[in-house]
Amino acid sequence: MKLLLSGNEALARGAWEAGLKVACAYPGTPSTEILENLAKYPEIDAEWSPNEKVAFEVAFGAAIAGARSIVSMKHVGLNVAADPFFSSAYTGVKGGFVIVTCDDPGMHSSQNEQDNRRYAKFAKVPLIEPSDAQEAHDFVKIAFEISEEFEIPVLFRMTTRISHTKGVVKVGEREEVPLKNYSKNIQQFVVLPAHAKIRHSILEEKLLKLKRFSSETFLNRIEKGKNEVGIVTSGISYNYAKEVFPDAWILKLGMPFPFPEELFKEFIKNVKKVIVVEENEPFIEEEIKILGYNVEGKKYIPLCDELSPEIVRKSLKNEELPHPEPLKSVRRPPQLCPGCPHTGVFYTLSKLKAVVTGDIGCYTLGALPPHNAMDTCICMGASIGNAFGFEKALGKKFSKRLVAVIGDSTFIHSGITGLIDIAYNKGSVTVIILDNRTTAMTGHQNHPGTGITAKGEKTKEINLAELARACGIEEVYEINPYDLKNTLKTIKNAMESEKPAVVISKAPCALLKEARERFKREKKRKVIEEKCLGEKCKACIRLGCPAISMVNGKAFISSLLCVGCGLCSEVCPVEAIE
């Protein structure tokens, strides 16, 4: 059967076919759809975990216990999960264990473009890299087999253009795989130094075997060509190389680490010169150079940003296809949606001229005009620790101008420990939890604060206010961010207080059903032109609502976009919006 599937959908389908039992993930673009799709299969126990480290540990535990398991995350998620990741290479596994990392070259939705192929070498595990959705589907099955044969976790690397490109995929059916027998073995699974020493040697032996395997497996292949130049490539870059050099000899690496040395030696017999075409880091290039061969790659191909066929063509052939000259459009960065519950909070923070340490989520957009209400955004959960650092550096008085903002899902992911630090170490920072009842930016995934599981079942709902109190925060407030007056008053009081405070801004994301139902009962807003003060006022424009623009010197509200949240009526000084 043939289906049009994205790389993520195809990977999920392939894993299901491979008899997968346990799947864990924390949402993160471009990886999110893998678990979303796995959760649809009744045979698979799929969960949204509080963060990538927990996700990793649960899936890893299942693999120690003998089940085929998978953990998926975006590239920076593997930083969070790095601790158990490194240990897992030493202990090895019983059931097949696949770690999926979805890297984001070009940083379409990320804070960096770290190349996680390096993690495979660093942690000493085999690396598999598909080039399209069909390969994602096919290779993940092989990944489980390799993992079981060599008793080692396998790093499966996707990138945005593989994860989010849909292609025609030939799919199969599920084959059940029995559990491996679990038996207690503390020399293997208790990483006491004495045990780990032995495990390290065992791991090195495994890598030698995997190196031989790498030259034999069909994941790595030579494609015959006509030219004297040979191209070594992997992942998405393979497609760009084929596009620009349809007749070249190609060494296509589906398993770039351990590097297939013997196959490479075979390959170079056919060509005079070898070029490595790869995105971001010179990972393959370095592997070849270590072997003592003189190859080129990053000398021509840029290291920064994602590749494209035209970049490969320009870099290696110094030519471009004829095309029209670019034309200047208008800047159109992403923005908070109409009716977004974050809007009122950022409008308020902007008004208070607060120093804001931010975090990862839709609300990072609060950094942009018109709010300009963010000073830092570093990584998941960093807002709270960063704010406390500001206070330590600049003093308690400065701290009265300071707030940390963090989303509900991000707070659970890695904000709680930061909050404990503030209470424990006598800080006075105000933390605003933007609780929009979902993981919004990645497309609305449930989390422990929503009371619904990845499978859509009801479960325990974590109470953020009680949690904050339990961490040692005495001043905890809950606000409705559509009530601007109270929002301003509460945040101001919290900031001025000598004690640390948590303000929970609680309202569902405007795109959630609950919010849409509520908005349906509201009227869409309209500007009374005669009353509108126009250009000299622009109070409503400063909300940053996409539905509001200035047309012919007066405010105009698009009836297509307005949801009726009413914030604009609240901020208009002359009641010109009804």
């Binding site: 043939k2 049009l4 673009t29 471009p30 379409h108 939705s109 399209d132 945005t160 253009r161 989010h164 490109t165 849909k166 292609g167 025609v168 998405i236 393979y238 497609n239 760009y240 084929k242 596009e243 494209s308 066929p309 035209e310 063509r313 471009e320 296809l321 004829p322 095309h323 029209p324 000259e325 670019p326 034309l327 200047k328 459009s329 208008v330 800047r331 159109r332 960065p333 992403p334 923005q335 908070l336 949606c337 839709c362 957009l365 005009p369 018109p370 930016m441 990645t442 497309g443 622009k538 424009i541 940053g544 609502c545 996409p546 509001i548 623009s549 200035m550 047309v551 297509l560």
Partner: protein
């Protein structure tokens, strides 16, 4: 072997992903290899959105190379300009939804909405079609069907059978909106400019 390289662009929330999905499925069901690439996440929230759809015998790169795009279907006027340099030099087709969506940066006075869009596009190709899709869609009672109407217009240039288009639309549109969207598709297909 003929290849069709199509870019669909517009503003997040306009239904670009859905429109390109229908196109890609029609391509696949017509027996072609298909790749369709777009970026999710941060790029959606009212920002500029683009989808590359490539249909042919064997497709490698999911991204259309600059200079290889045959058709540019734009759901918003200024967004058209952002992608014209992907078009091939030789008589590309540009289809534009005749609406302007002002980004807040314009209202804030931080940027300007481009002028003389039509004129600039005419300099690129004689195959320029600016279509009041929203107006026609409103006339048939469903403004949200404007995309499908434009897709119907694009379908004139592609060798896929009517029945395959219909099935692809039915598969991707909610039950209660299928009829009106099929009508929009036909309107677009029969549009004479």
């Amino acid at each position: 072997m003929k290849e069709f390289n199509i870019i669909i662009c517009g503003v997040g929330g306009q239904g670009i992903i859905l429109t390109s999905e229908i196109l890609a499925i029609a391509g696949m069901e017509s027996g072609f290899d298909v790749k369709k690439s777009e970026v999710h996440g941060m790029s959606q929230r009212g920002g500029s959105v683009v989808s590359h759809i490539r249909i042919g015998e064997k497709i490698y790169s999911p991204l259309i190379e600059k200079g290889k795009c045959d058709f540019l279907l734009s759901l918003e006027k200024a967004e058209t300009l952002r992608w014209v340099h992907y078009l091939k030099k030789d008589e590309p087709v540009i289809i534009v939804n005749d609406i302007e969506i002002l980004p807040p940066l314009v209202s804030l006075g931080l940027d300007q909405y481009p002028e003389r869009i039509e004129e600039n596009l005419k300099n690129i190709t004689k195959n320029l079609y600016i279509i009041p899709a929203l107006k026609i869609a409103e006339e048939i009672g469903e403004p949200r069907s404007a995309n499908i109407l434009l897709l119907g217009f694009l379908s004139k240039f592609l060798p896929f059978e009517e029945k395959i288009w219909e099935e692809a639309i039915k598969k991707n549109i909610p039950q209660n909106l299928i009829y009106v969207n099929l009508e929009a598709f036909k309107k677009g297909k029969n549009l004479i400019l």
